[in-house]
Amino acid sequence: MRFERKLLPAVRAMGLGLLLLIPAGGLAMDVDDAPAAVVIDFLQNLYEPVHFDHTMHLDMATCSHCHHHTIGTGPANPLCARCHAGAGEGDIVACSDCHDAQPFTVENLKKTAEPKLFHIDKPGLMAAFHINCRGCHEEAGGPTGCQDCHKMTEAGEKRFNTGKYAPSGYKAVPKHHDAEKKHE
């Protein structure tokens, strides 16, 4: 059944910690088929999970801006279209099905070394999110500060020597601008 075919990658994605909340009943790969929300919680423990409002983003971008050539609408990027122009709907829809959470393992570096492979430079999962999401946010005026999307955890505060782990004697300088943003 088609639904099961769609569900499989999602289940695999859950294994990686990416939870896809699949709405019940949808059979075709169209907008109604899309999950309403996605919790992205597989990354490090430095930040809390991102509650990604998938439905809200449907109005802001075309599906192929994020799903490239995998959902049968044709890729938005002309570079991808050189090979994937006629690509139909694929089994692979979740980000984590292509973008590896650990991009630089010895195994993955073998792919980078493949002399005939075009995709020697596929970003890992964390980078795929940040390059795509944050890149678009910058262009479209969406939030771009780290903690606009995910709050820092205690482990994060420790890593960054901030919050209750701030250096002793440190006096915070008032931040006049959000330096996390490229655009001021």
């Binding site: 570079l79 991009p103 020697i120 430079d121 960054f160 020597n161 250096p167 440190y170 490229k182 655009h183």
Partner: protein, 310 residues
Amino acid sequence: MNTQLSRRSFIRGGLAGTVAAAVLKDKKASAAHNFEGYPDAMGVVVDLTRCVGCRSCEAACNKEQRLPEPAEPFDDFSVFDYMEHGQKRRTDEAHYTVVNRYDVPAIDHPLFRKIQCFHCNEPTCLTSCFVNAYTKTPEGAVIYNPKVCVGCRTCLVACPFYIPTFKYSSAFSPRVMKCIFCYDTRLKKGKPPACVEACPQEALTFGKRTDMLRVARQRIRETPGKYIDHIYGEHEAGGTSWMYLSPVPFGEVGLDTDLPNEPILNYVKGFLSFVPVVLTLWPALFAGFHLLATRKNRVEQSHNDANREG
């Protein structure tokens, strides 16, 4: 700038003139020109179009290398405004890597550039060290052995990127502090360095150096206009394991564009590995290095004085 010039002239004029004159005639020395680096050396491409200046790499480095608590949190971005003697932040004994901001007029947003040891194919720190305290490992890392270091500071002066610094906490055991590519804890085990793993933007891409060159070339080729058509570090100083891609000329993001394409101390290398000659010339060498080191101090001193007056 002064300092830079003085160091450069030290390397070219000083060493080449006083020490290596005899060596240049040596045939062995010219053979050293053909060394292309270890074939399986790993590398990193730093893509300045991707870096957002989040300082996650700095924080990760600090923890991985157990460096001292920083003066300010790693999410304090006022450090980008820091200036000392007309210079932005530099690597030092407590910071093996730093990120700096560059406001480039041609672009409507600032650029950020991480710097750390470049892990040169033929490191000048290594070739300039006459007790062999440095090693270039087959994995590409340039590491350092504090046990044999005599604290002469030649490597500090010799590095074309001003990377190594000294830790002076103990006067009796000076120790060079610099990025080691996370060799002990990661690289040796086939893992990427901590900064690479922490970078949310994959502004740092890790792999075999030869593959990183292919990746970098592909980015330049596939996105015309996005990058300057040059991979900084492919040839600079004889080639480096850490390489840069930039949307603007590399000088505008604080990288030295006057570096020669040969290893800085290429000609000295054959000489230094030729032990008997080293031993014969040891006193002369040492006197020379000492002179140069103090001269560099003097230059920096006067440079600083000039700054204070100005």
